[in-house]
Symmetry: C2
Subunit: 190 residues, 2 copies
DNA sequence: CTGATATCGAATATCATGTCTGCTAACGGA
DNA sequence: TCCGTTAGCAGACATGATATTCGATATCAG
């Protein structure tokens, strides 16, 4: 039985090449204009090799877990700061740092799958935090579902706007704006 | 010189058939699974005829102005009610009425172009209204650009969530929630 | 009625996807 | 270092959708 954690070195190389090719092509020409041919040309691998590992272009993207891990890491990082329901500051900083890539992946001309992935993580996080603080939020009758969706979508919208407009304000300012705009949901109207 | 406003009756018929085919196919199988072949089969027109009028499937969608007109109409309708910055109630009602179509066009598995079109109209509307009330909003330092984007995206998010979840609350309730959630931007913190 | 033009439909070129083949090269355990 | 196993290769091939072309025909407006 082969060790499943460390596959053949050739496999690792192939996947690494494909991931690199995918990332550079996303930045270069946008995800939906990428063809399998582009990927195997850039990665310099055979056609059948691609299909030996992935079924489609989307399959490759989804298997590219780097992003999801990054998101979770940065989200957990700010969770120690118990103030905010959703780790907005860490996200502005993280997306700002890798703005070329995220710019190509979310918002105008971006990739639906990725946007949905980020949204779903934000939503999950917000739902969890809101439920944890349920008793502190008796001041509103709006269902948690709605409030969590609102918080997640608002943040995603601000992040997208920020990237699409070449980050005209520092992450800290954006975070402050987000906090103020969502004040109604973040804490009782104190 | 031909009258440009009323083209040949055959042309009108062809375009009408294609628009009808497009709408029914969107509801039936979703936009991205529609092929040009589907469209010309459903509309019962020749292949070359399609390409005589449109370059691509997207071209047909964009030329389908019915939607944009509807949006503007309903937005203008509520503008007489000077309370809200963005015509949320009218939109919840309108989208609820044609929910089968809008459900297929915005949100999960929807059509980017349409979502962006709606967002852009909301954004334009919100920007206009915020600028008109500029002096009444000295209580915040958040740029109008950001606030308008926030209002537009939040509403779109609530609309999408509402449709995706089979409209669990009446339009009036959704509107109230939206008003409360965006209270920070709608009016000075009274 | 007549000249103009929209439509037809069928053939065709193009392009990307996905499958399959036999062959070669690289791997890793013994 | 050897050897059985497995990954990768090149390229042919089938498929399905897009987009163009052209002569014949139907329909239009005046």
């Amino acid at each position: 039985m082969t060790n499943e954690k460390t596959p053949d070195r050739r496999v690792r190389r192939t996947k690494q090449r494909l991931n690199d090719a995918l990332e550079s092509l996303i930045i270069e020409k946008g995800y939906d204009k990428i063809t399998v041919q582009d990927l195997i040309d850039r990665a310099d691998i055979g056609r059948s090799t691609f299909y030996a590992h992935y079924e489609t272009k989307d399959d490759l993207l989804v298997s590219w877990t780097q992003l999801a891990e990054d998101m979770d890491l940065h989200m957990a990082q700010e969770q120690t700061n118990a103030e905010s329901i959703v780790p907005s500051l860490a996200l502005f900083r993280h997306l700002g740092e890798y703005h070329r890539l995220y710019r190509a992946m979310i918002g105008g001309g971006g990739i639906d799958i990725v946007t949905e992935m980020i949204h779903s993580r934000l939503l999950h996080h917000a739902t969890f935090e809101l439920e944890r603080r349920a008793e502190a939020n008796r001041h509103t009758s709006i269902p948690i579902e709605v409030r969590a969706g609102f918080l997640a979508s608002s943040l995603l919208a601000l992040l997208t706007w920020w990237l699409d407009n070449d980050m005209p304000y520092p992450p800290e300012s954006m975070d402050e704006m987000y906090q103020e705009l969502t004040r109604t949901t973040q804490a009782p109207g104190k």
